[in-house]
């Protein structure tokens, strides 16, 4: 009996929180057929927002993958003063609200700061432009790759790498031939999570982008802006598209996740 009750509670909880809202969005999106859905997603603004999202997510994920693997190796394979502090800092983006991240970036890179003015005079505009949005996205998705890779790297141990060294492999050869295949699954999982986070990021990007339509508008910003302008069809269509992408990514993580995990 208790099992049935527990199941019912869990399912109701999920239904109210997840299935019903997402279902309603999908229903609203396709309420008038597939035509309006396609039309509202192929407007120049929607396509531009999609393009911006992909560009920002691409650079952010690339940066986080390289940085994530590097920091993971540093945290697991080396000991140095301040290591625990670094480990704690990696998790900071999980604790800090993305809006705060956005404001902090504006403070550092905006035209109000010497650094921002310097960069601007060199012709590089960070805030209200793509570089700032990439920075913000990198920041919020920072821990995902590191936290996926670190435990696997620890479990892998150093023996295989050392064996490769004694067999004549350089550091790079040992990394590429031994370490990388060993962490491939975890790295893939971390990267997919980082992609999902980067595509869906709203708060930090909203602050640093300035929400300039057709210039710095991402998909999430597009949804919010359309909704605010009573263009519900576009808002729901874009939201559905985002949700579909998320579902595909979710399925990918199920494939890439280490076996045995739920």
């Amino acid at each position: 009996m208790t099992r049935v009750a527990l199941r019912a509670v869990a399912l109701t909880y999920l239904a109210l929180l997840l299935v019903l809202p997402v279902g309603l969005i999908v229903w609203r999106t396709f309420g008038a057929g597939l035509g309006p859905f396609v039309d509202s997603l192929t407007t120049p603004s929607a396509l531009h927002a999609f393009g911006v999202t992909v560009v920002v997510a691409f650079w952010a994920v690339l940066a986080n993958t390289l940085f994530g693997v590097g920091v993971s190796l540093l945290l697991v394979r080396h000991s140095f003063p301040g290591k625990r502090l670094l480990g704690a800092f990696i998790d900071l983006p999980m604790a800090v609200s993305p809006v705060v991240v956005g404001l902090a970036l504006v403070l550092v890179y905006g035209v109000g700061s010497p650094l921002g003015r310097g960069l601007a005079s060199a012709g590089i505009q960070v805030i209200f432009s793509i570089p700032g949005m990439v920075l913000a996205t990198v920041f919020v998705a920072l821990p995902l790759v590191v936290r996926a890779v670190v435990p696997v790297l620890q479990e892998l141990g150093e023996d295989q790498e050392q064996a490769a060294h004694t067999l004549g492999a350089s550091r790079w050869q040992a990394f590429r031939r031994i370490t990388l295949p060993g962490i491939r699954g975890a790295l893939g999982y971390g990267v997919v999570l980082a992609i999902a986070r980067s595509l869906g990021e709203y708060g930090a990007v909203a602050v640093v982008s300035g929400r300039l339509v057709d210039r710095t508008q991402t998909m999430t910003l597009f949804v919010e802006e359309r909704f605010g302008n009573f263009d519900q069809q576009s808002a729901f269509s874009a939201a559905t598209a985002l949700a579909l992408i998320a579902i595909v990514i979710l399925l990918l993580t199920k494939v890439l996740r280490p076996k045995g995990a739920v």
Binding site: D159, Q162, A163, A164, L167, I178
Partner: protein
């Protein structure tokens, strides 16, 4: 000398692990680094391989100062206790790894790997992955992988430590035969004195980060430098304030010259040999005698006997500390 270690010191943090260690390893010999756990033997092996840097001292391999060389350039084969098998590569690719790194031609790699897999009796497992092998097979694969690069010296860190007793005995006999075939200078770490004495040409006994004694196994057994070496290498008992081997003790019913009166407290028959527990001067001791001797003397608990160190005994007695 294939390996000359001179005055090596190494600490982890404030804990000294090796203190002024000097060791010579003969070319072509099979040398055992023997000692209790935590004695520094694995660290010494890793210093020789370049996997640890000594705080001071030098390591020469084949006459070349290798102290500051990276493991990559030392041309040593290293076999890890837990195999360190490359899990994502087949047995063939594991063994081929060092040759692939050295960019040898494909045909040569295939020929050489086949030879090595035959040598370690794994030829039919070439396409398996390490997780499909037993522990003993994995360790043989690791050995073939280390031998593939034709190392100047082969270093084995507790190679049979993770295996069960039966496989362990088989593998050490096999290792001895393999060494007689391949003749590569080999150093292996073990805490098992029986394994060391059975397999090795030379022993280096390490404890508390220091070399206690080095030399041929029988020399260390019969002529130990101190009580520690004596008790580490084999069974010991006390008689007259001296440490002696129990099989060097002679029992008799009638008084003999230098014989000490004792009382039998227990007789334990262990197959072909008999362990006679004694009380000498209120102190416990024991003698190891053959079944025939025990039967001849008719030993029973409570019987008075005379015990002395056999005049023919080869082993030395060491004053107990």
């Amino acid at each position: 000398m294939a390996i000359e270690v001179r005055g090596v010191n190494k600490s982890f943090g404030s804990t000294p692990v090796l203190s002024d260690v000097s060791v010579d390893v003969r070319s072509g010999a099979l040398t055992a680094l023997l000692g209790p756990s935590g004695g520094g033997k694995s660290t010494l092996l890793r210093v020789i391989a370049g996997l640890e840097q000594p705080d001071s001292g030098t390591v020469r391999i084949s006459g070349v100062d290798a102290t500051r060389l990276s493991p990559q350039r030392r041309n040593v084969g290293f076999v890890f206790q837990h195999y360190a098998a490359f899990k994502h590569l087949t047995v063939f690719r594991n063994v081929a790894f060092g040759l692939e790194i050295r960019k040898r031609p494909g045909a040569e790699i295939r020929r050489r790997v086949r030879e090595l897999l035959e040598l370690v009796h794994l030829e039919q497992f070439a396409d398996r992955y390490p997780h499909q092998l037993s522990g003993g097979q994995r360790q043989r694969m690791a050995l073939a992988r280390a031998l593939a690069v034709e190392p100047e010296v082969l270093l084995l860190d507790e190679p049979f430590g993770a295996l069960d007793a039966q496989v362990r005995r088989e593998l050490r006999t096999w290792l001895r035969r393999l060494h007689d075939e391949v003749h590569v200078t080999t150093v292996f770490v073990t805490h098992d004195q029986e394994e060391a004495i059975e397999v090795a040409d030379d022993l280096v006994l390490l404890a508390d980060g220091r070399v206690k004694q080095a030399g041929r196994p029988h020399v260390l057994y019969d002529d130990p430098a101190d009580t520690f070496v004596m008790s580490f290498l084999g069974p010991v008992t006390r008689l007259d304030g001296q440490l002696v081997r129990p099989h060097d003790l002679e029992l008799s019913v009638d008084p003999v010259p230098a014989g000490v009166p004792a009382t039998v407290s227990r007789v334990v028959r262990l197959g072909f040999e008999v362990r006679v527990e004694l009380v000498v001067d209120g102190q416990e001791a024991y003698a190891q005698v053959t079944r025939r001797t025990a039967d001849r003397l008719g030993l029973d608990p409570g019987a008075p006997v005379y015990v002395r160190r056999s005049p023919e005994a080869r082993g030395a007695a060491v004053a107990a500390g």
